[in-house]
């Protein structure tokens, strides 16, 4: 078992087989730096619980294809990313920090799916980006490929 500690000082015990899906922790274990508790100063307990839930479910991913559990995993993944935008982003940042490739793929794809039909204004708000383009520059971008700005209605909501 490996002990992980969130930034709000909560400790979680995770099986080594599950936790080594994180390249970062795997390296720490291999280097012998994971003797007691691994502190994770960037991750709060709410997010860490989600990440651990994912790691435990995907523990035998290689075997899933043989045992016919692929559909079950697919369903779990679909349910897993069914969370709020802020929450999803916390998980993405945790997956990036812990270097968990599959989780990163899953969550970034979900983020992309949510951004797909959003308006530029909504995207800026969702990702907390301030617009640094002048009106002329924005117009130039539209003039360069006007057809890209035509078509189905655009979603202006930010969730």
């Amino acid at each position: 078992m490996v002990k992980l500690k969130s930034n709000d000082d909560k400790e979680f015990e995770v099986e080594e087989a599950a936790v080594i899906q994180s390249e970062m922790i795997k390296n720490m274990i291999e280097d012998g730096c994971a003797t007691s508790v691994i502190p994770l100063p960037n991750i709060d307990s709410k997010t860490l619980i989600k990440v651990i839930e994912y790691l435990n479910k995907h523990i035998n991913m290689g075997k899933a294809a043989e045992t016919g559990e692929e559909d079950d995993l697919k369903e779990f993944d679909e349910q897993f990313v069914n969370m709020g935008w802020e929450e999803l982003f916390d998980v993405i940042m945790a997956a990036n920090y812990l270097n968990i490739h599959e989780l990163m793929e899953l969550c970034c794809q979900s983020a992309a799916d949510r951004l797909k039909n959003k308006s530029v204004r909504a995207v800026r708000e969702m990702l907390k980006i301030t617009n640094d383009l002048t009106e002329e520059e924005e117009q130039e971008i539209i003039n360069d490929a006007p057809w890209a700005f035509e078509g189905p209605e655009i979603d202006d909501t930010v969730n």
Partner: protein, 403 residues
């Protein structure tokens, strides 16, 4: 902490990128995360999102981003990025070419033809990273690179050296090291009775570093190609069905020729033995492998799909598709394995492979097929259709202009 430092370095490296980062204190998320998410978006959305901020505007033209985006856009799982380009000749007195963009579920649209000359002869090679190359057979001139998803094109200057043949076959490739597009022109000299082996001559042009055309001679290969463009492109390298120089029988291909970008030379291997009699053959990009499709024309045709076993370097029969009926000729297949054919009336038939109805017959996997969709390109001449499965790509060549 070490892992954090490692994370920061990822996706960085050049000095220009650090500059962008300094300009961008406004986004709370790391650039590599943003880049990962955006690389999964459709091309049209990305063009809109250029107006989110300056950093995003620059990001989508960076070579690494363009490559990652294309790897997502061309993956088998992505159905929304699939675009089919259909080439056909206009039915009428003045015989010019029509290009149609077809995204399944949406109606087909005729697009502006980037080809600069009004000539009845037009051929296309590609796609490589979202780029098609249009040219005039048989000499492979009036070369025009076209990115149909971005709606931009550019004409390419030809070499000044004399062409030693009356026929040229054009291929496209992508150098993943230099991140550069390559155009290949093979000089094809048809064999004649009693001829001796000659080494194949070709010329190549790299787009990013315009040193012009480089004329080369293949080191070991003797082969003859009778088609104006490559038959398939697999992993960004062109492939041809070709003849043995000394045993040339028109229509009976014996070799699979492949241009290896890293070696700047051709490689070839013998095609599988498929028996005697009349058969037709296509080389296709089939479900992430290079497929050699062979069939005989009967009322109910079955297509044998062969593939090369990478490890053993041998051909093996991957599967059998069929029966297919009601078609006149097969045009090729789409990435997902769907077969595209044309019937006697010039209507395009899209056969879908019913994966769930697999039948195992004499140790062979047989997949039944059914017509999923039919398509008529208005005013197009029967028998003139050519189809290209063209995933959307952001790659632009310097000097490309809106069509």
């Amino acid at each position: 902490m070490a892992p954090k430092g490692k994370g920061k370095k990822k996706g960085k490296g050049s000095s220009t990128k650090t500059e962008n980062r300094a300009q961008e204190p406004n986004c709370i998320f790391k650039p590599e995360i943003i880049s990962n998410i955006l690389s999964r978006l459709p091309l049209k959305t990305l063009l809109q999102f250029r107006s989110v901020c300056k950093q995003w505007q620059k990001l989508i033209y960076k070579p690494d981003f363009v490559a990652t985006h294309y790897s997502h856009s061309s993956s088998l799982q992505r159905t929304d990025s699939s675009m089919v380009i259909i080439q056909s000749r206009h039915d009428g007195g003045f015989n010019h070419n029509v290009l149609v963009k077809y995204k399944p579920l949406l109606p087909p649209v005729q697009v502006k033809n980037p080809y600069p000359i009004i000539s009845p002869k037009m051929s296309i090679a590609g796609p490589v990273n979202g780029i098609l190359c249009i040219f005039q057979p048989p000499l492979g001139d009036a070369l025009t690179l076209w990115n149909p998803a971005m709606n931009k094109s550019k004409m390419v200057m030809l070499s000044k050296t004399a062409n030693p043949s009356q026929k040229v076959s054009v291929g496209l490739g992508f150098d993943s090291q230099k991140k550069d597009l390559l155009i290949l022109r093979i000089f094809c000299v048809p064999p004649f009775p009693g001829c001796t082996k000659t080494k194949v001559e070709f010329e190549i042009c790299e787009m990013k570093y315009p040193i012009g055309w480089l004329t080369l001679k293949s080191r070991t290969n003797y082969f003859y190609i009778d088609k104006p463009s490559c038959d398939a492109i697999f992993k960004a390298e062109p492939y041809w069905l070709a003849y043995d120089y000394e045993e040339y029988i028109p229509g009976k291909y014996q070799r699979l020729v492949h241009f290896e970008v890293s070696k700047m030379d051709f490689e070839w291997w013998i095609l599988p033995f498929i028996g005697v009699g009349d058969y037709y053959a296509n080389l296709v990009n089939f479900e992430d492998s290079l497929g050699f499709m062979v069939w005989k024309k009967t009322d109910n045709s079955y297509i044998d799909v062969w593939e090369v076993d990478d490890k053993k370097f041998q051909w093996r029969k991957k599967c059998k598709l069929g029966p297919l009926s009601g078609f006149c000729r097969i045009l090729g297949c789409l990435r997902n394995g769907d077969v595209v054919a044309e019937n006697e009336d010039g209507v395009l038939l899209f056969y879908t492979v019913n994966k769930s109805e697999l039948v195992v017959q004499n140790d062979e996997n047989l997949y039944p097929c059914s017509v999923k969709k039919t398509l008529t390109v208005e005013n197009s001449e029967k028998g003139s259709h050519v189809v290209f499965d063209c995933p959307e790509g952001l790659l632009l060549i310097e000097g490309m202009l809106t069509v």
